[in-house]
Amino acid sequence: MPAKDNTALSGSRFSNVDNKSGISKLFDKAGVYVIALCLVILGIIVSPTKFLTPDNLLNILRAVGMLGITACGLSFVIYSSQMADMSVPSAMAFSGIITVQFLHLGFVPAIILGIIFGMLIGLVNGIVVGYFRANAILWTLAMQFGMEGIMRYVWSGNQLYPDLEPGTSGAAFVNIFRLEVFGIPFLIIVMIVLYIIADIIMKKTKFGNQLKLVGSAIDAAKCTGINVRKTVLYAFLISSFTASIAGIFITSMNKLGVYYLGEGYDFKSVTAIVIGGMALSGGRGNIWGVLGGVLVMGLLNNILTFIGIPTAVQNVFIGLVFIAVVALHTYKLRKVGKDYA
């Protein structure tokens, strides 16, 4: 069956969900950006002269750059109905450590090796979850613990420092995070490019259509001859690819590689994706919504700091937003007879 037909099939599954009034549809389409707009207005009210300055907005973007990259890849896993990839932190740390370890081979080979080794985690995840049908959350959690243990053992829990002498690969490596192109941080440019590519993959390719069908109606996908196992494998590979890229940035930022870099990016990424309107049950949402979710998290942290709310309480806010969004999804789905969001 052609990919277009697959889309039509998956679309029909949720036809009753999509059958809404114009305002409701608009909110569904731009929901997260409506929230972002509300937050911008709140920011202007809280700090009329300081919030809407280019420097502050750039700071917000810088702060969520790496989160944006990890969320971009992880959204493929969630879109494929695999709930989450909890091994994102280990892929980040591993790619960073490997890159620093092999900097003596040269800048480019080290980066390539870092990404390849990081993606190995995705490969294993994809094989075990896709081919052996292991529970994605449990398996990736186990992978996270296992990889953390391996990194701690192999490098004795030490931090790996690149050689920072001018002209060395190490010096070039730590500049990746600090690089700016026409005043815009390279990190932000990479993030935007990844979202554009992700959008094209999801909307314009056969793989994107198959992923949507796998995520929304796996049995139907199997009936149409889609190789579900391979599709899930690719989703995990994409997730580990972006996690590796984020890992290289975070290692470059910290000027060292260590096993615990990237901690917390699993849950933060899932939160951004869910806030962005992507359903944990798969097959619904879009990649620009995910970017919106990332921006909402950055804006929330920024505004709450302006108000003077401590970080610990900010986490409570983010957690509450997560719960509220999941509850809303669940409510909407239950109204049409589905079980979970």
Binding site: I116, I150, N158, R178, I250, K255
Partner: protein
């Protein structure tokens, strides 16, 4: 099926490559310390005599500093009647934490065998893995080798339940002493009681346990966080001309440095530089990205009123702060931090940071075991033994290179 096998083989071969090619477990790369070990001593002497003759003060750590420096005593002021009734900005409010252990009434402490340390058996219960703790174990190991001490290290992995099981394991080992770095300062009390009831002496290390636990400890050794941060607060005030607004990036919530590295400077500056104003304090969980965002937001919010920053860590907190200062063009802000990892020392060297506290991780591990040695030798111990206090500045940072972690 063929592809599946290929994938598995590829993964396995790459994993093997890591283990064989990248491992940096250079056990042979020990510091050439010129130490005197037990094997160098003349025969015919008793264990105690040989033990007392070993000169560990000449052992040099990986940072070029002596591994063991004379420990510091502290003047303990009289305890306020009700510390908690005082405001948080008053030093007396923190008396019970700052002077923990000095006035503790000990309970059921084992007596020293006074027969020397050589060949004794010791178990180290360490809190978890971290580069600081890797250096800690390096220092510990060097002292153990100097005295030919048979030791076992159990890693609590930052998990209190695991450490609780390890306490039973340690007791079963029937060691001559336990060095205990607790995961949780309060929850360790029953564990210490259990070890104490087994008749095993405890040297608590690094994290100050609660009073209920301290009474079972023969001694506590570790950094004087409060003293160090009072010292660096004065340095900070001098650098700022004793005026201007400042903010504090705090440690992990709930940990003892979370309080010490916040309220030691606050209470000290109230006395030493009353014109300085605390604008904000918050934690970024010692993460670079979170610190970058927090400090950037503070700079946007407070603008030129923000003149100085105190960081509870000189690692990722320093990296995040450095980025925030550079991005906002505010490299005029005075920064001080708790040290002394490589990132912090580099920051001092390149002028981003005005000063960091000297806290030798290797010395921390070494002093704990050396205190046990003194116990085996029958020496009288202070209840608390602090690592020496010092502020590393641009003037002497080279003396502390290379960094221990």
């Amino acid at each position: 099926m063929l592809k599946k096998c290929f994938g598995v083989i590829l993964v396995m071969s790459l994993v093997v490559t890591i283990f064989t090619g990248c491992g940096t477990k250079d056990k042979a790369e020990k510091t050439d310390s010129g130490k005197t070990s037990v094997s160098d001593n003349a025969d015919g002497q008793s264990n105690l005599e040989q033990s007392k003759e070993i000169d560990v003060f000449s052992i040099i750590g990986s940072d070029g500093q002596p591994l063991i420096l004379p420990t510091e005593k502290k003047e303990v002021p009289e305890r306020p009647e009700d510390p908690k009734a005082l405001a948080e900005e008053e030093a007396g409010h923190w008396w019970d934490i700052e002077y923990a252990g000095w006035t503790t009434e000990k309970e059921n402490l084992p007596k020293s065998p006074a027969d020397g340390a050589i060949g004794k058996k010791v178990v180290l219960l360490k809190a978890g893995d971290h580069p600081y703790w890797t250096a800690y174990v390096n220092g510990f190991t060097q002292i153990a080798e100097a005295y030919d001490i048979d030791f076992k290290i159990l890693n609590g992995n930052w998990n209190m339940d695991l450490q609780s099981q390890q306490v039973d394991q340690a007791i079963n080992e029937k060691p001559d002493a336990v060095i205990f770095a607790p995961v949780d300062a309060t929850a360790c009390a029953p564990l210490m009681r259990k070890i104490n009831q087994a008749g095993i002496p405890i040297i608590a290390s690094n994290t100050i346990p609660a009073e209920a636990a301290m009474k079972y400890c023969t001694a506590w050794t570790g950094p004087d966080d409060w003293g160090q941060f009072r010292m660096i607060a004065r340095h900070f005030a001098d650098e700022m001309g004793k005026k201007g607004g400042y903010a504090i990036v705090r440690h992990m919530p709930g940990s003892s440095p979370y309080f010490a590295r916040t309220f030691a400077p606050i209470t000290e500056l109230v006395e030493y530089a009353p014109d300085m104003e605390l604008l904000a304090m918050d934690t970024a969980n010692l993460e670079a990205e979170a610190t970058m965002q927090l400090v950037s937001d503070w700079i946007t919010k407070y603008g030129d009123d923000l003149k100085g920053l105190i960081l509870a860590g000189d690692g990722f907190s320093m990296t995040g702060t450095e980025e925030a200062l550079k991005n906002t063009g505010r490299e005029d802000i005075v920064v001080v931090a708790a040290g002394n990892c490589k990132t912090g020392m580099d920051a001092v060297k390149n002028g981003v940071c005005s000063g960091i506290t000297y806290q030798s991780a290797e010395g921390d591990g070494a002093i704990a075991l050396y205190t046990a040695v003194r116990f085996f030798n029958g020496e009288e111990l202070d209840p608390v033994a602090y690592l020496p206090r010092h502020i590393i500045t641009a003037d002497d940072v080279d003396n502390y290179m290379p960094a221990q972690w």
